[in-house]
């Protein structure tokens, strides 16, 4: 899967969140996250269904299901390795 990513800054200097524009939608991504062991919560009550996925190391991926942009927040400890692993995983899809 190809992507472009950009860091998202917020109010906290320790923020480790990046936005990923994918060449697929979150609908395609969510089952793959589940297969990889993420705990995925999809809320279909929302006007546009929204998912939040989290893995064991604390990486959280979020977004609207039918959109191609998701946000990924990496754990403070080891965020660089976590980001590298996530991007390698995306590239391998």
């Amino acid at each position: 899967m190809r992507y472009a990513c950009k860091k998202i800054d917020d109010c906290f200097s320790d923020s480790r969140t990046w936005q990923y524009a994918l060449d697929a939608t979150a609908d395609d991504l969510v089952p793959l996250l589940e297969e990889t062991g993420y705990q995925v919560d999809v809320n279909r009550k929302y006007r546009r269904p929204f998912f939040i996925a989290e893995n064991e190391e604390g990486l959280r991926v979020k977004g609207v299901l039918n959109r191609s942009v998701v946000n990924a927040s990496f754990p403070l400890d080891g965020w660089e390795e976590s980001k590298a692993r996530f991007e390698a995983w995306l590239e391998a899809l």
Partner: protein
């Protein structure tokens, strides 16, 4: 691959967006504002400070409008610049502090106040005292008076309205208390100008900053600083003024004493249009208060933890949703409901301990244009998050 190739990314903001981030910057603006900016860019530039009687000086026109709005007798006491932060920096760094002076300010302040104060502290020039505010984000006059008695500050600086809770301070009373104890008063009216009455001369305020792009409905890049008659600041910014070029220093007279560099003429044309439009189209304060109250009540009924504010307030509401991080609430509001809000610390990091919301809040800030239908969408969204449809 470009991140911008995707038609299905969804607009960050579009015609259908419900914009509730007016405490950051107002949107929409009256149509005439954009037209005025456009016309200014097309027209021959003005000659600020040099024009004769037949030339239109937009800065003088804006000054006159603002003086009338704020009850300022002499419009030349208003220097115009890029925003309230510009004005605050001119104030903090233009007051001739002496080593050992104290500044009293409050924990409800925006970083546009906190960071200049901190910079002065780091220089070893002043000592700063940050006064607690109450759980509504409001300065309590008794605590203010007590702090003034204890610390005997050279300067007392406070926001007219909290940008986090909307609570409006009693500026006249706080100013009087500070003056009784010999302090100069600096009022930050960024969050109040255009929404509630702002009367620095009547209140005895020495210095007041404001911005043009929030409730005054002007473009970004507009703001100013009022300096009372008899008070002189050392210019923090120096440079060209277009006149009196043979002087080595900034011209001594206000307002140009504090106006170095070329002014933002197009944006001030926009602000002038906004001020004229707002005067011709006053909003119904009672109707806005009812809509705000219904938003606050509706959030609470749906299980949100709302920072409750009594008394005078701007159309700002802070809340959290139990069990959901603030950033998730914001992302769902924007991604699933097209509601533009602000989450986090809102550039006022010290206030949250006073509010009992250390992790920050979700902030909704209405405008005069916010509709009942838009409020209903927000309440529906929060109800979907909490499971309390009310």
């Amino acid at each position: 691959m470009s991140a911008y190739d995707h038609d299905d990314c969804g607009p960050a903001i579009g015609e259908d967006a419900i914009y509730l981030n007016n405490a950051a910057t107002s949107w929409p603006k009256p149509v005439c504002v954009a037209e005025a900016v456009r016309e200014s860019l097309i027209a021959k530039p003005g000659s600020a400070h040099r024009g004769g009687i037949m030339d239109f000086d937009v800065f003088e026109a804006v000054r006159a409008r603002l003086a009338a709005l704020f009850g300022i007798g002499d419009s030349s006491r208003i220097s115009l610049g890029s925003n309230a932060t510009w004005g605050l920096n001119l104030a903090f760094f233009g007051i001739p502090f002496e080593r050992g002076d104290t500044i009293i300010t409050t924990k409800a302040e925006h970083n546009s106040v906190l960071r200049p104060v901190h910079a002065l502290e780091r220089r070893g020039l002043v000592r700063a005292v940050y006064l607690d505010v109450d759980a509504q984000g409001r300065v309590q006059p008794d605590a203010w008076a007590q702090a003034l008695d204890v610390h005997e500050p050279r300067l007392a600086a406070f926001t007219h309205a909290s940008n986090v809770t909307g609570a409006v301070n009693d500026a006249a009373r706080l100013s009087a208390l500070a003056h009784e104890r010999g302090a100069l008063v600096l009022l930050d009216a960024s969050q109040s100008a255009g929404w509630v009455d702002v009367e620095p001369e009547r209140w005895g305020v020495d210095l007041m900053t404001f911005t043009g792009h929030k409730y005054l409905l002007g473009p970004q890049g507009t703001g100013g600083l009022y300096v009372r008659e008899g008070l002189e600041l050392a210019p923090y910014l120096v440079g060209g003024t277009g006149i009196l070029s043979d002087l080595d220093t900034m011209p001594p007279d206000m307002p140009i004493h504090l106006e170095a560099g070329t002014g933002n003429e197009p944006s001030f044309h926009g602000l002038l249009a906004a001020l004229e439009w707002a005067e011709a189209n006053p909003f119904d304060r009672e109707e806005r208060a009812h809509l705000l109250a219904s938003l606050v009540e509706g959030l609470a009924e749906r299980g949100a933890h709302v920072v409750q504010v009594e008394g005078p307030r701007t159309p700002v509401v802070s809340f959290t949703v139990p069990g959901m991080p603030n950033e998730d609430v914001g992302e769902v509001l924007e991604g699933s409901y097209d509601v533009i809000c602000r989450v986090g610390l809102h550039c006022a990091p010290k206030v949250f301990a006073c509010l009992g919301e250390e992790a920050g809040t979700v902030r909704l800030s209405m405008s005069r244009f916010t509709t009942r239908e838009e409020v209903d969408v927000v309440l529906g969204a929060i109800g979907d998050m909490t499971g309390c449809g009310a």
